[in-house]
Symmetry: C2
Subunit: 336 residues, 2 copies
């Protein structure tokens, strides 16, 4: 296979192959240089592969496995007992260098644990973080991390997330001098918990970083920062809350009259940049290879977006740029 290969965990998420196979087929037809390695149990995967003519596709390699990771599985259990799962096998392929990125819609905790074990973190990085991009009102994207990989974080981890987010903004979104902010409950210096305040003092002391201070929840979709840093509990709730509100507003027409239907159709087209389905795909950053986590509830267009995001990360080699940042500024990355 060529250089551009993405490994796909075809199971996981709420819909499995009924969503992942059509998305894979569409990605192949959109990107002629893309190769895919597909992982899943034969009985569930094969009927869908046949239907979409992927069983003998020249740019597809199929790997059948016997297990899959469920949402109910604890990370430690998945790590020990689900070694022939589609998630694990996809990550193994990445570690063996036979793919450059992996996409899964499965259990976030298990994906994080397996990815750390199989791929390892970039030297100097304590914990990977889940990063996602939020569409701004005026166009462009703000990066938010962590959105769920670490449910509690100390100041040191928040500082590391800031460094990783800075690299992602620079190298994937081509922002020259990204503005870095911490998510807090107020803009004043005395607001927030100890971890956030300590991280703020450390970031202020990092001369070469464009640290702009605190932002609040209503700034997530504004243009105040290019990278917003928080712990994984707060980031996950903020992300899902915004998706909930957007879906609520965009979905209002569903069971009402024709006027509503026409209105929301029109609105949906114009607000598509705010539709969660359009910006699906968070990445685990800080690992030695790219791992993209799709929403569990993602439909095919959203899973396709996650695949395209994986391709973008391969092209920009985000892991290497993060490794470079942590290699050249060890005193920053270890600042407490």
């Amino acid at each position: 296979m060529s250089q551009l290969t993405v490994a796909l965990d075809m199971m996981g998420g709420d819909h499995g192959p009924s969503v992942t196979v059509p998305a894979a087929a569409q990605a192949l037809s959109l990107l002629p240089e893309l190769n895919l390695a597909l992982f899943g149990p034969e009985s569930e995967l094969s009927p869908w592969l046949s239907r979409f003519h992927l069983q003998s596709h020249p740019r597809v390699r199929i790997h059948f496995c016997t297990q899959q990771v469920g949402n109910e599985h604890k990370p430690a259990y998945a790590l020990r007992h689900l070694v022939d799962s589609s998630m694990r096998k996809a990550l193994d392929t990445l570690a063996e260098g036979r793919a450059q990125a992996c996409v899964s819609a499965g259990n976030t905790g298990a994906l994080m644990a397996m990815a750390v074990k199989v791929l390892n973190t970039v030297p100097g990085v304590e914990r990977p973080a889940l990063i996602t991009r939020l569409p701004r009102a005026g166009g462009g994207y703000t990066l938010l991390l962590d959105v769920g990989a670490n449910v509690s974080c100390d100041a040191h981890q928040l500082v590391q997330f800031a460094l990783m987010g800075e690299q992602a903004s620079r190298h994937v979104l081509a922002v020259t001098r990204p503005r870095i902010a911490l998510l807090n409950v107020g803009a004043e210096a005395n607001k927030g918990n100890e971890a956030v305040r300590q991280a703020s003092r450390t970031l202020q002391a990092l001369g070469q970083m464009n640290y702009v201070g605190y932002v609040e929840g209503d700034d997530l979709f504004s243009d105040k920062a290019d990278v917003i840093v928080c712990d994984g509990f707060v980031g996950n709730v903020a992300l899902k809350t915004s998706e909930g509100v957007a879906r609520l507003l965009l979905g209002l027409g569903r069971r009402r009259g024709l006027g509503w239907k026409m209105l929301t159709f029109w609105l949906k087209k114009r607000l598509s940049h705010l539709n969660p389905d359009q910006y699906n795909g968070a990445s685990l950053v800080g690992l030695r290879a790219s791992v993209v986590k799709s929403h569990g509830s993602a439909g095919s267009p959203a899973f396709l977006n996650a695949i395209l995001q994986a391709v973008a990360e391969i092209e920009h080699d985000l892991p290497a740029s993060i490794a470079h940042r942590f290699d050249t500024a060890p005193q920053d990355s270890h600042a407490r």
Copy 2:
């Protein structure tokens, strides 16, 4: 003055008397039984009182003071040095029994610290929480607490918030058997941080409570629970995020063509229940009297809503019902 008196901190917030005075005037004309006690520095307050004919209104008592609490003031400083501030004087009046509720748009941390000192908590309640109501897609409201009074909470505090939220849902919103949920990063039992998981175990053990488990950020505006409990950092970020998204969507028409303007006008009317200005006003619960915290950025209609909320809490005597709950179930309220 009669039984129904609300004390208003006319300063604080982004706009001060230019917002609070018109709101006060409107509240007086809407509710013929309402009395108001107004607090603020003479130089700033008087011109506005004259303009709205409140200087010799029969149901208004004016208290001039010399200080005001700013957003930059730390709670400890405000507590010690701003004893002649409009915020403090309004709370003093409440403690003296000359008003039954207080409304302020000022510094949340200072309001919390002063309220605890001046009013004290209900016996058994460790820390008050800031509670707000969120409009649901299908109508009705979900209560969310804490939205910013306590930036970090242990399991015991989360359980106490659940008990207080249950009383608020029952007595202010007349929900017979409120469904209580914890806000988390996933629905499965193994998700979340230690405080949330421990609180969940304790709530499950409370036989008489209708505890329904975990909900996620995108459930805030759904019909899964009547009361959603979280720490103040998470709740504040979730609330402000949802307001940010709603404002973004509702405000899109501002600088575009006529079609957009007509559309958003139509949309705004129909989505008014989702407009943050329509549901402004969070309450500090767990105190011996009602304290309503208006948004700092509230306009007059939003500040008016906060006053109406204070009136509703007086009518339902929420502090007494929380005191009753903590008095009759001490083993629950102290469960760890």
